[in-house]
Assembly symmetry: C2
Homo-oligomer: 189 residues x 2
DNA sequence: CGCCAAAGTAACACATGTGTAAATAATAAA
DNA sequence: TTTATTATTTACACATGTGTTACTTTGGCG
């Protein structure tokens, strides 16, 4: 029994995602979030005791989903297929990079925050694991020189996700172009 | 005559730079800036009528310096030398990307702001010009396939600047590695 | 010394944000 | 229809931020 909810958990995460991408961490406020959900601030406080715990929980959910998505890459394919698969999945997680970057700036207003920050950091490593595996696979299959530093390659690949599509290429073409740049750089041959 | 100043224009831009990188646009406040300068808020308001005009002026100064720095690249060198030169200069402008990204979110509280935003946008193009010239030069010298989209290459090169140096490589090595990745990608041969 | 001009501060009014407690609204079951 | 239960809102106290005005400090010059 009881009254119907005006917003679901899904609505909440959806609105949170939009708002934090639009305004950044410092610009994010419970007032703006409440407005977006057509609800009063207090209604949100019934679910989360403060802004920090709401945001950290949001990030944990986000990264959990992302880890799952990336861990489902098929590592039995040829290296190029693996890379393509990875890039497509990473493009689905477009804002993740930006969002997780804000995690460290969340204030430790309660021990729960500190704890979940720890969880976040652990899962962050799990997120990189498939990427690392892909790089190792590439080295094994002879596509990548073994002398290359994994951290650097990882950062390189991760960074390409944020290349702006100013040319307005269709997503498929765009991803293919990026894959080519990752593999062979800008050189002609 | 008159009393000695407690902070110079240089001090102001220095503190502004640090603060905006630390806290982002939304987190930037005149109180924090004043504290950083060991001065009262009102002292800053003697120079700039509001936060927005201070920040837009800061950005104009920043981009002016950057345009000059990048326009000084020697385009008579071999393509690889040009690229190396460019990368070294871009690394000096590390936070520029992040800072200029905030420009669009500055509120138009006065016509002066709107006007300077326009200037900023114009200079933004001037900033890309040397990069474009480098790409065209690369195409002419046969290093880059002419079919490549300039926007994409530009974004690609620009994005590599933000690769984190997690491996802790010395700057020289780091830049050399990145140059190699830009030229040839991760592939072995 | 005494004046005056530049530089700086304190204090005010106002706006926006946070988190809480008491009151209200909506729904299902008795 | 009454009641219990859950969801939501209103109103409050408090904190932080903005921009302005009146006042104070400091230093050179006649």
């Amino acid at each position: 029994m009881g009254r119907d909810k005006k917003f679901s958990t899904q609505d909440l995460w959806q609105a949170t995602h939009e708002l934090i991408v639009e305004t950044g961490y410092q610009g994010f406020s419970m007032s703006l979030l409440a407005t977006k959900l057509h609800v009063s601030r207090a209604a949100i406080y019934k679910h989360y005791p403060n802004k920090e715990e709401l945001l950290i929980e949001f990030m944990v959910e986000k990264i959990r989903y992302s880890v799952t998505l990336l861990s489902e890459i098929d590592f039995t394919q040829r290296f190029e297929e693996q890379l393509r698969d990875l890039l497509e999945r990473m493009f689905q997680l477009k804002d993740l990079h930006q969002i997780l970057g804000m995690a460290s700036t969340i204030e430790d207003v309660s021990p729960i925050i500190t704890e979940k920050k720890q969880i976040l950091s652990t899962m962050h490593h799990k997120l990189y694991a498939p990427l690392n595996q892909l790089i190792d696979e590439g080295k094994k299959q002879g596509f990548i020189a073994p002398s290359r530093n994994n951290f650097l390659l990882l950062g390189f690949i991760f960074q390409t996700i944020d290349i702006p599509n100013h040319a307005g290429l269709p997503l498929d073409t765009f991803i293919a172009e990026i894959q080519d740049l990752i593999l062979h750089g800008i050189s002609n041959k």
